[in-house]
């Protein structure tokens, strides 16, 4: 089929896809908030009735009108989005009850956090405790953002209740410090080097690309276990934008992908940084994988790939849960965490990578589909611009 015939069809399909994503967003948004009383009762079971003191704070009273304690509902940024909790304090300022109201973390990781004893580990803390990860609270490897959100919830609510309801002296608020360390610096460097390497042909180009990929594999994959995932893109679409000071890494990851795609139509992330792409290429080198395309097969499969990713995005938007449709196998490879299905999928991808170059990227990866859409919209926009001029 000629380009002249496929272009209008592709444009219609792209518009349809984006329109349905917007509809899905509104559908998810219209689902009303849960009744909070059961959560208050779970957080402070000693109380028989609750008196609303403000929008998010209740006093719990026993049947003989004694004050059992206070409950406050708050939310903090987890990995997938806001993690909402009800935190109960007794009148001495000690945390006596915690319950999770709503969370949008990846199911495997929230399960890991719960099995490791959170948020129970925060019980018994008092208003005067620092409640800082790495100081008086231990983190959980691979689930830092989730635990951090729980700790921040408890810290904020306990200090607010302590100060405003109990008249206790509370430590000064923990300032939002800018998290800018070696991961962020490394990411910026990798994007710049990757972009320049793609743009300018020079003798050591292939060698530098391999170096960048291996660095991505080791550092972004195994050390940090923070590659770009569909969950983060869903998060942005849902409006759950995390505080940039604390999660600058994610903004750099997505921003770098978008920036170089928009200004120069080059997908630096997938080509030179993605740790799973690097893993596939390493296996491909061992097995002698070839890059080959049967145009008809490739075109049909491309659309099947896009439909799969579209379905995942729409599911996440309707359920307002960024990680619910996360199907990447990165956790299985880099952290040995994942469901049985994901491990089987990982095995399939790696075995196929022996004979076929980057099969995950070409036929299953949500980031590739997203990049294709950006590329398509950019090309369309440029055509319109040229026509207007």
């Amino acid at each position: 089929m000629s380009a002249a015939r496929t272009k209008p069809r592709d444009r219609i399909l792209a518009m349809l896809a984006m329109a349905t994503v917007i509809v899905a967003w509104f559908l998810g948004y219209s689902r009303h908030a849960a009744d909070l009383l059961p959560y208050l009762e779970r957080a402070l079971p000693e109380a028989d009735r609750f008196e609303s003191l403000s929008g998010d704070t209740w006093a719990g009273w026993t049947v003989d009108s004694r004050l059992a304690g206070y409950v406050q509902i708050g939310a903090a940024d987890g990995y997938g989005g806001p993690l909402q909790m009800a935190v109960a304090l007794d009148t001495g300022g000690t945390v006596i009850g915690i319950t999770i109201i709503d969370q949008v973390e990846t199911p495997t990781f929230i399960g890991k956090v719960l099995r490791e004893g959170y948020p129970q580990a925060l019980l018994g803390r008092s208003v005067g405790d620092p409640l800082l990860l790495g100081q008086d609270v231990d983190g959980i490897s691979g689930a830092t953002y989730t635990v951090s959100a729980m700790v921040e919830n408890v810290r904020r609510t306990s200090r607010d209740i302590g100060e405003s309801r109990l008249g206790l002296k509370v430590p000064a608020p923990h300032p939002r410090s800018l998290r800018f360390g070696w991961p962020e610096i490394m990411l910026i460097a990798m994007y710049l080097v990757g972009f320049l390497n793609l743009r300018y042909a020079w003798p050591g180009r292939a060698w530098l690309r391999w170096l960048s990929l291996l660095m991505g594999l080791v550092m972004i994959g195994f050390v940090l276990n923070q590659p770009l995932t569909l969950a983060f893109l869903n998060r942005l679409l849902l409006g759950f934008w995390p505080a940039w000071q604390e999660q600058l890494y994610w903004y750099l990851l997505v921003g770098g992908l978008l920036l170089f795609m928009l200004i120069d139509d080059r997908n630096v992330y997938c080509d030179s940084i993605c740790p799973f792409g690097a893993a596939q290429e390493c296996v491909g080198k061992i097995g002698g994988a070839r890059r080959e395309t049967d145009a008809r097969v490739a075109t049909r499969l491309k659309w099947a790939h896009r439909v799969l990713v579209w379905l995942a995005v729409v599911t996440a938007l309707v359920l307002r849960h960024p990680s619910i449709s996360s199907y990447e196998v990165f956790g299985a490879l880099f952290d040995f965490t994942g469901s049985r299905v994901l491990f089987v999928l990982l095995g399939l991808v790696l075995l196929t990578s022996l004979v076929y170059r980057r099969p995950w990227c070409r036929y299953l990866c949500p980031i590739t589909a997203f990049a294709d859409l950006i590329r398509f919209l950019r090309s369309w926009g440029r055509d319109q611009w040229r026509r207007a001029r």
């Binding site: 296996v283 061992i286 097995g287 002698g288 095995g347 790696l350 075995l351 022996l354």
Partner: protein, 97 residues
């Protein structure tokens, strides 16, 4: 059985046969074997043995779930490295007329 010297004598015979058989097989396939190719082949063979023995030991210790996971993970690694080894061995082989 495993504490019997005769059993281990038989195991030794089996391994010698495997090594001799490997040599004969390499010759019949026209492979140009060098000392480091033999070393790689022996290392891969050792990995294969581990891939079988570790999970089976776990299964024997009533840890079948762990055993299957180790088998899946190590099995995948063994297959991938095995393919790589075949490519290395086959490179520059003398094809029979």
């Amino acid at each position: 059985m495993f504490s019997s010297p005769f059993f281990w004598f038989l195991m030794g015979v089996v391994f010698v046969l495997v090594a001799a058989g490997a040599r004969a097989w390499a010759t019949s396939l026209g492979l140009r074997m060098t000392w480091w190719k033999w070393l790689l082949s022996a290392a891969w063979y050792g990995l294969l043995m581990l891939t079988v023995s570790m999970p089976m030991t776990l299964v024997g210790e009533n840890e079948s779930s762990a055993g299957m996971r180790v088998l899946a993970a190590m099995g995948l690694v063994t297959v991938i490295l095995g393919v790589g080894l075949v490519r290395v061995l086959v490179r520059g082989r003398v094809r029979s007329a």
